[in-house]
Amino acid sequence: MTEEINKENICGEIELLIDEQIEGMISLSDKQKMEIHVADCPGCKEYLKNTLETINSIDKLNSKNLSLQKNDQEKMWESISDKINFSEHSDKVNSQNEKSANSYSIFRKKYAWISGIAAAIAVVFIIYAVKNWDFSQGKDSLSYSFGLPTYWKVVSVKGSPKINDMNIVSSDSVKEGQWITTDSVSIAELIIADIGKVTIEPDSKVILVKGADSTQQIFVEYGMVNTENKSGDNRSFKVGIPSAVAENKGGSYSLKIDKNGDGMIVVKSGKVDVLSANKNAIVPAGNIVMTKNGLGVGTPFNEQSSPGFKNALFNFDFGNCNDACMNVIIKNAKMTDAVSLLNILNGGKAVTETKEEIYNKVVTLIPPRAPVHKDSLEFFDEKELEIWIDDIQQKIETDLKGSLEKLEADLLKYKDDIQKFYFDSAKFYFFPENFDFTETPGVPHTPETYENNYYYKYSDDSVKFNSEEMKREMEELKKEIKESNKYNKEELDREMEQLNKELQELNKELKENIYFNNEEFKKEMEKVKEDIQRSVKEYKSNQNYKFKEGDSNEDSDEGSKDTENSGVPEAPDPPEDPPDNK
């Protein structure tokens, strides 16, 4: 039985080697192993023969014989071209060019007005126009006219930033091909028309370049920049970094590139698309994405993501991510990691099976507006993906808001509790027992008014409640009370000792006086006993027990030791013979 199983296993292995051999991808050692086995194994010999026959049969279905008729091809093209909008992809560029054209047409209109001057009709109008023309706006409008030689405004914010080798005095302009560098103390600001700005932080170097789509871009060689897109519409601007391009679609982000060209983008608000040769990343606010020189952009992750998750993502993007690593990414993902998962779904690195798992996971976190069939996962529509990401962001924001509100409510509650604690402590230690806190006219008796009430009596109104000071005072007071208690106890002990002595003397006196009336004596002793018991009980229940000096003469008291042991002083022996009546 075992032999049969072993044989099956070996044959299964050899079958795979036969496939490899047919493929022409077998190693020499495997080939020898396969040939030796096949020579002695009829089953595997049969498999080899059948496989070759099958392949030969399939060869007959050679696709070269299949071709589309010319007229079918033409019809098909007509049908396809009817369904395609050929300007779809160039719309963006065209719209940008349109803006350029509009700028140009405005420029021409201006000249038309100038020609109107020549007609000497619109002199006043021209004066008006010159007075009211916003030159800075005109310059900015021109600066984002794609495809035109443009100058961008750059401002020195701090220190001495440079354009190439020249210091920027206060503000200057920079054009394509020029570098802006900052030293360890300099900061410069690049104005991107009326779209936004890029702040170039110390120790940075950026250049204005023409991007792949012929638009102007900023390229950051190293250092740190903060970008801000305040356009409020769909306009964006791109910042190139080694191996990627970041497109700010509205919002702000920080970008840092080290000397090796590796970088990190932290999105503070809005959304940023980071494009690289291998994949794109959609990075919403609160997310971070790494870039590696030569490898492109990684998968974005949330600031709140666990270290394990981030580590697994790093391996997935730039190292080796085995099954265990993928398991960490998929199984450990939380709501805040949903954006990372969607970005993996959008990329080409994960295999179909993994993408299905990821899709199923994200659906459990937050489902898409319209379910996506797993066959379509390979061709995920980016717009739908962005909507999904927006939904995730919305949910995270709502959850965060809810958590903050709860935290705020808890803090308020704790604040009340703390105040109440201090107030109660103060009430106990500082105020007379019969102090009525509700007596302050017009001030309701609530926790919020404790503080006011307290200082109403004991502090200047302008003095703010100082909890630390209060704490210190409490500690001192506790210490005082403790010492005072100690003193009372010692005093009491001393007095008890004295009483005990007196009691013993009384005992002795009684013993000596055998003529003492027995009944009277008993009553007297009962009284003493009761007094002592009451005193001891009071002492035990109240640490602030004060010994009454007045009582010491007629009500005897006793040390706790004696009282507890016997309860009563030792009774005198009854007189054997009553004395004669005196």
Partner: protein, 192 residues
């Protein structure tokens, strides 16, 4: 002159669309800019290959034509996402495989059962295809979709496992396993 002045901005810019002498790259770039002629050229260069694989998947001329159309329409829509990481024809095959798998699943959901579907497929083969090995084509049609796709891409279209892995977005080992299984099932089917 400082070091930075010597650097050519074009060299440091990240060019997502590679500059290449390959005419196909130029056609794609031109198509992206809105050139209908460029996309027509792409269509002409690839339509036969795409149609061929679609026919192998479906064994139905009309359906193959429909799928081929869908492949090119999808390719146009997704053209901006083509990253020049593989051959354009490989990318088109990838779309074709997915179109086919999507179609198969939709069809199977619509039709009551596999038998009825297979019967219809066989009828289509009988009507449309006299010059092919009908038994073999029938046997291929009976294969599971993934195994069938791998078999066609490997044994008919001549793709390597690593290319199939790329096209179908599966692991190379998975592609090998599918092929092994497909051949076995095919052989058993042909023996009947």
């Amino acid at each position: 002159m400082s070091k930075e002045n010597k650097m050519n901005p074009d060299q440091v810019s990240i060019n997502l669309i590679p500059k290449s002498s390959d005419p196909e790259v130029k056609f794609i770039n031109d198509a992206l800019k809105g050139s209908k002629e460029a996309f027509r050229r792409i269509f002409d260069d690839n339509v036969s290959k795409v149609y061929s694989v679609c026919f192998r998947f479906t064994a139905d001329y009309d359906l193959a034509k429909e799928l081929t159309q869908e492949v090119f329409i999808t390719a146009w829509k997704k053209l901006t996402s083509f990253r020049f990481e593989c051959r354009f024809s490989t990318w088109l095959h990838s779309i074709a495989v997915n179109q086919f798998l999507m179609h198969e699943r939709t069809l199977k959901r619509i039709l009551a059962g596999r038998e009825e579907y297979l019967k219809q497929t066989r009828d289509n083969i009988d009507q449309n295809n006299n010059d092919l090995n009908i038994d073999l084509q029938n046997a291929i049609m009976k294969l599971p979709d993934q195994a069938k796709a791998v078999l066609i891409l490997h044994d008919v279209e001549g793709f390597m496992h690593n290319e199939i892995a790329e096209i179908m977005n599966i692991k190379t080992g998975t592609s090998k396993a599918h092929l092994h299984r497909a051949r076995k099932l095919l052989r058993e089917e042909l023996k009947k």
